[in-house]
């Protein structure tokens, strides 16, 4: 049974596993494509590398192929084309039960006829572990998810959050190096979700296992991950750390999916160094240029609502326009204003609640400004 102890086993009783200093590749998707019906490609030419000890999240809208990717790695589906490697070895043809990967399913998948203790002991029993060692492992795993004392309960006598904790413990108890979680918190309410997000992160830190996590909740992805792979229609749009995804979206899909962005249609009229000039409906805008657009290309310019300055000193920003206030929403620490800019009434700005900003009223004409660095010319898609 090819699994190595990663945690629990240290002599001092210390639950070990530090973040690795020298990253090494753990999982590789090499040109993986998948179709179920032979017509529609659910995953296309996927190239993805997961580092050992990393927390990687697959983020994407429903139906974008995230679960399919995970199931191919777990061994429940076979790639139509391409290869998946774990620790450098192809896993093609290795059945799921020989891969030694922990999986947490969306709806828990606890065994309803076994107690919590029975569920946790199951993976150890099928590995032929002795009773005494089994018990020690089960106790430790339950302690890890703060569920000690629940051994004798049946799953149906647990709350949703407790069931998910048990499911996580069960996926960890046989000490896999790689753990997959498919929307594990999808069925929980918001508070529980946040609590468990924290717990999973803590467990990840303590154990140092590699986690591939699936969610369609971008906030969850941002909070938990070392890196996030943004999926759309079976392709990775961008894979980067949460900060980079937010600050430097490379594709307009990412700009739209992660956080809030104003997207303005335009055409590139000039490229010079790291910036380009974009002709938009009501004038010219200066935007950061990412290198894949050239003169004459259609583009979407993305501007974060919180990077917009109200009534800047003239000449401060490369982009300064006059807009009409449509409405103002008071949100305590900040004001959310909707403007009519270039004839479109959907330009959003989030402005801090400071002196002067409160005096802005609907139908006022105001000047707005933002830096070239805070607006990015991205690939064009029709929106």
């Amino acid at each position: 049974m090819g699994y190595k102890p990663v945690f629990f086993a240290t002599a001092s009783g210390h639950i070990g596993g530090q973040p690795l200093k020298h990253p090494s590749t753990h999982v590789e998707y090499l040109g993986v494509s998948k179709t179920y019906d032979g017509e529609q490609w659910i995953v296309e030419e996927l190239e993805l590398t997961v580092q050992r000890g990393e927390f990687l999240t697959l983020l994407g809208p429903s139906g974008s192929g995230k679960t399919t990717c995970l199931m191919m790695l777990a061994g429940f589906e076979a790639p139509t084309r391409g290869d998946i490697r774990i620790a450098g070895k192809s896993v093609q043809g290795i059945p799921a039960d020989k891969r030694g990967i922990g999986v947490v399913f969306q709806n828990y998948a606890l065994f309803p006829h076994m107690t919590v203790g029975g569920n946790l002991a199951f993976p150890l029993e099928v590995r032929g572990m002795a009773e005494s060692e089994r018990r020690a492992r089960v106790d430790k795993a339950l302690a890890l998810v703060r569920m000690s004392g629940f051994e004798g309960r049946l799953p149906r006598a647990l709350s949703g959050g407790q069931q998910q904790r048990v499911a996580i413990a069960r996926a960890l108890v046989f000490e896999p190096e790689l753990v997959l979680m498919d929307e594990p918190l999808g069925a929980l309410d918001r508070r529980l979700r946040e609590e468990l997000q924290f717990e999973i992160r803590r467990i990840h830190r303590e154990l140092g296992v590699t986690i591939v996590y699936v969610t369609h909740d971008q906030q969850e992805a941002m909070v938990m991950s070392d890196r996030v792979a943004v999926f759309s229609h079976g392709r990775i749009e961008q894979i980067a750390s949460p900060e980079v995804l937010y600050e430097e979206p490379a594709r307009s899909f990412v700009a739209r999916f992660i956080g809030e962005n104003n997207l303005i249609k335009g055409e590139v009229s000039e490229v010079k160094g790291g910036v380009c000039t974009v002709q938009v409906e009501g004038g010219a805008m200066t935007a950061t240029h990412l290198g894949d657009l050239s003169r004459g290309d259609q583009t979407l310019v993305a501007v974060r609502p919180e990077r917009i300055q109200l009534r800047p000193d003239p000449g401060t920003y490369a982009n300064e326009f006059t807009a009409t206030v449509e409405d103002v929403t008071f949100l305590g620490d900040h004001l959310r204003m909707r403007f009519n800019l270039f004839g479109q009434a959907d330009f959003i700005a989030k402005l801090p609640n400071i002196v002067g900003h409160g005096a802005v009223l609907p139908d006022d004409e105001v000047r707005l400004g933002w830096a070239a660095l805070d607006c990015r010319a991205l690939n064009f898609v029709d929106i």
Binding site: F76, D97, F111, H113, V126
Partner: protein
């Protein structure tokens, strides 16, 4: 009572009445017939009312002799005498002739002062208290004699209860045979039905519907048609024997006896009852999420371990429901064994039918039915204790 409740009560009343008339009443009458019967009693009602006060020691009072001397001849004229003499004969051989002879001779006998003397003059037996005890026992309205008979017990003349001689035991061996056959039919249905149900539950929707139809179509066909189809297949000159002979696997003179014996009963009953096993199993299997087996594989369990430890235990409520249904149905099975069972393949229900239709011993039929009912209830309670009826899933 609030108006709304009155109205809802009025609405269910017809249904309650229907259940009462079609289910409770026949059952109650059946149960009462098994222990309470006036057929024999009404042959000599007046004698019986005199004997009511007789404690069974010594001879009964003169009045009993007087009334029976009056009632026996008139029963003979009414042709009801045989009921009494038959019932008495079952308790004590020789009573039939004894009573018939007395009834014939009383009108012509010379009155000897008391009826007691007169009857004793006709036959010594009337002076024996044992005779009277047998008559009272045979004609009593309330008695457990049918139950004794159904349980292969007898009341000895001295009043003690004991087992009948080996060769006279009929019903208990038959009941035992019925239970054994039902058990094996249930087992066969389980062994055949489980993989079928699994196959259906695992199929994609289109194929699933087709397979379900294949299970259900025989279900919709008349029981008689299905059973006779087996006759066509299994009989000595039937399809299977013909095929085996034509391939030279059997000689013409060594054709297999597959019907009109226990084999026929087994084959036909298993076939007829299979859907009752498949349907509950199927419905339980459908309700097991696919990711249960995936979870078990991800935890390192081989497909076999996954089946034994994760899948099968979760189908147990369906196994229980199917087994209980099949078992209870086969305990009471009647038509199929009657048609294909021959003499060695008959079950207890066939005996009940015989007593209802042919021997007209309804009391015994009722007692046998009650014992069957009791067996089923015991089974049901045991099942409830072991598995829990609320956990059982019928579909």
């Amino acid at each position: 009572m609030p108006r709304a409740r009155l109205i809802s009560l009025a609405l269910v009343l017809p249904l309650l009445a229907f259940v009462g008339v079609t289910f409770v009443a026949p059952l109650a009458s059946l149960l009462s017939k098994s222990a309470y019967e006036t057929r024999v009693h009404d042959v000599i009602p007046e004698t019986m009312s005199v004997l009511d006060t007789w404690d069974g020691h010594g001879l009964p009072p003169e009045a009993a002799f007087a009334t029976i001397a009056k009632e026996l001849p008139s029963a003979r004229a009414d042709r009801t005498l045989l009921r009494l003499s038959g019932a008495a004969n079952r308790l004590r051989p020789g009573m039939r002739i004894f009573i018939a002879a007395t009834a014939q001779r009383v009108p012509r006998a010379e009155f000897a002062g008391t009826w007691r003397e007169t009857l004793a003059g006709i036959d010594e037996g009337w002076a024996d208290p044992q005779t009277w005890r047998v008559i009272k026992q045979a004609a009593t309205k309330f008695s457990l004699r049918h139950y004794l008979q159904a349980l292969d017990l007898e009341q000895r003349p001295d009043g003690s209860i004991g087992a009948r001689p080996e060769q006279e035991r009929v019903y208990m061996p038959l009941l035992w045979r019925t239970l054994v056959v039902s058990f094996f039919v249930t087992l066969l249905c389980f062994v055949i039905g489980y993989p079928i149900a699994m196959l259906i539950a695992d199929s994609p929707p289109r194929r699933r519907n087709l397979l379900l139809l294949l299970v259900l179509v025989p279900f919709w066909t008349s029981l008689l048609v299905r059973t006779t189809a087996w006759i066509v297949l299994l009989q000595r000159q039937g399809v299977i024997n013909d095929v085996l002979v034509s391939f030279g696997l059997l000689g013409d003179d060594t054709r297999l006896e597959m019907i009109y014996n226990m084999t026929g009963t087994f084959v036909a009953m298993t076939h007829v009852l299979l859907p009752f096993m498949v349907l509950p199993l199927y419905s339980v299997m459908r309700s097991i999420p696919e990711n249960q087996l995936r979870a078990s594989a991800s935890l390192g369990a081989s497909p076999m371990q996954g089946f034994v430890r994760v899948y099968f235990p979760q189908t147990l409520p369906g196994v229980g429901a199917g087994a209980l249904l099949v078992f209870i149905l086969s305990i009471g099975y009647y038509i199929t064994p009657a048609l294909v069972g021959g003499s060695s393949g008959q079950l207890i229900s066939n005996m009940i039918a015989y007593h209802v239709q042919t021997s007209l011993n309804w009391g015994l039929a009722a007692a046998l039915s009650s014992i069957l009912l009791a067996a089923i209830i015991v089974l049901y309670l045991a099942f409830n204790r072991l598995v829990g009826i609320d956990r059982m899933r019928l579909g």
